[in-house]
């Protein structure tokens, strides 16, 4: 793959947080100047290619992919169209994080999601699925969120203990036993077949 292709992949997957030239140089195994040079060329090319909808911007030390300014009205239009889904992916993710970690602050949710979460939280609160649960200790005393009884109703849960466990822990243990036996059998096979 070309450096351009890899850099585009990295910047795309990194999302809104962006990446520094150092981080990219590290994985590409080239020096920082090379990365900077390639990115400058890419940014220029993206900007002038009217088939492309994204450009590369610099924000502090970080490079980020961003949609082109000119296309903002279309994104705005999309944002204003009611989604066919009653809850967006972003809202559902946020709800899951709150449900499994409550009480939890917005910052903590954003830390897990890696993106701003103001709107999803507002949506969930507006639909009565989450509510404030006091304030956390520490700087700024941020608001804590928890799920509501309506949340339980909406998902047909008697209580929070009925949330399905997320880990596959038990399965893992089973596999170890299987692994042991599998290896044993293999070893037996090898010795007897010789």
């Amino acid at each position: 793959m070309t450096n351009e292709s890899i850099i585009e992949s990295l910047l795309f997957a990194a999302g809104d947080e962006g990446l520094s030239a150092e981080q990219m140089a590290d994985v590409l195994d080239v020096d920082v100047q090379t990365v900077q040079h390639v990115i400058e060329r890419m940014a220029e090319a993206f900007l002038h290619d009217d088939m492309r909808g994204v450009t590369i911007t610099t924000y502090g030390e970080e490079y980020r992919l961003m949609t082109k300014k000119e296309n903002a009205p279309f994104i705005q239009a999309l944002a204003e169209k009611p989604s066919p889904k009653t809850l967006s992916q972003a809202a559902l993710e946020t709800l899951a994080i709150i449900a499994y970690n409550q009480p939890v602050t917005r910052i903590e949710v954003e830390d897990i999601r890696g993106v701003k979460t103001e709107r999803p939280i507002a949506t969930l609160a507006a639909r009565g699925l989450i509510e404030e649960a006091g304030r956390a200790e520490g700087a700024g005393r941020p608001i804590l969120y928890k799920t509501t009884t309506e949340f339980l109703d909406a998902f047909q849960l008697k209580n929070l203990d009925e949330l399905p466990p997320l880990s596959e822990g038990e399965v893992q243990v089973q596999q170890e036993a299987d692994l042991f036996f599998g290896r044993f059998e293999e070893a037996m096979g090898e010795t007897t077949e010789e």
Partner: protein, 244 residues
């Protein structure tokens, strides 16, 4: 150290039978009752000896096989039609179950490949501003939608940590265990009983020691000897062939 852990587990009696059919190169459409029953029982006995929890399904299948085998051993002096049919039916039914199960086992392998391929694709979080919520009307989502969204999120990558060698604990322990085993075997100078190489009966220790032994065998550092099926296993340092 690269050690690929191959999980070669049996997913029940049908899986075990398929494994045996494969290993013994038996035609799935013409399963010899006696041979398959003997082999099957051998495995179930081993599982019992290893004190692994044997699901009742394995024992039910054992009983079915034994019944099948004993009927097949009956002298065929034109038994009544009824008995003959019964024998055919048990064998046939088992064959059909195996074929049916095999189909899905193969499909599971294909799904696993797709799952693996999928882990190589990444997207990004939807922009915060997108998707206007519908404020009115019923909330048409289920808990599965929420869990699905959560899984989708776990597939995204948060990029930041510079590359660093992450050594998983168990890999480390296998390596250390290999060194320890070599020392034990070297010091002993005589073949050591296989079981004596396991210091504790903690599941994790058993698995790690076992992997270490297998790795040493693979590297031809040790030889495992056995006089016959299910006789004691002895382990000695040094490979089977000395090329060096």
């Amino acid at each position: 150290m690269e050690y690929k852990v191959k999980i070669d587990s049996f997913e029940g009696p049908l899986d075990l039978l398929l494994h045996l059919i494969n290993k013994l190169e038996i035609d799935i459409y013409d399963i010899p009752a006696a041979e398959i029953t003997n082999q099957y029982l051998l495995y179930v006995n081993t599982m019992q000896e290893l004190e692994l929890d044997i699901a009742s399904e394995y024992l039910v299948m054992a009983a079915t096989l034994i019944a099948m085998k004993s009927r097949s051993l009956l002298p065929d002096h034109s038994s009544t039609d009824d008995e003959y049919d019964e024998e055919e039916d048990t064998g046939d039914e088992l064959m059909h179950r195996l074929i049916e199960y095999k189909k899905y086992k193969e499909a599971a392998v294909k799904l696993q490949e797709l799952e693996k391929e999928r882990t190589k694709l990444f997207s990004r979080s939807p922009a915060d501003a997108l998707f206007a919520p519908v404020k009115e009307g019923p909330l048409n989502v289920t808990i599965y939608d929420m869990l699905g969204a959560f899984q989708k999120m776990t597939r995204r990558k948060k990029l930041s940590v510079p590359r660093q060698a992450t050594v998983r604990r168990e890999e480390m322990s296998v390596e250390i265990r290999m060194k320890m085993l070599m020392k034990t075997l070297h010091d002993a100078k005589v073949p050591v009983l296989f079981e004596d190489l396991f210091q504790s009966h903690e599941r994790e220790e058993l698995v790690v020691s076992f992997l270490a032994i297998l790795e040493l065998m693979k590297q031809n550092e040790i030889t495992v000897m056995q006089k016959g099926s299910f006789a004691q296993l002895y382990v000695v340092s040094g490979g089977t062939t000395n090329d060096k």
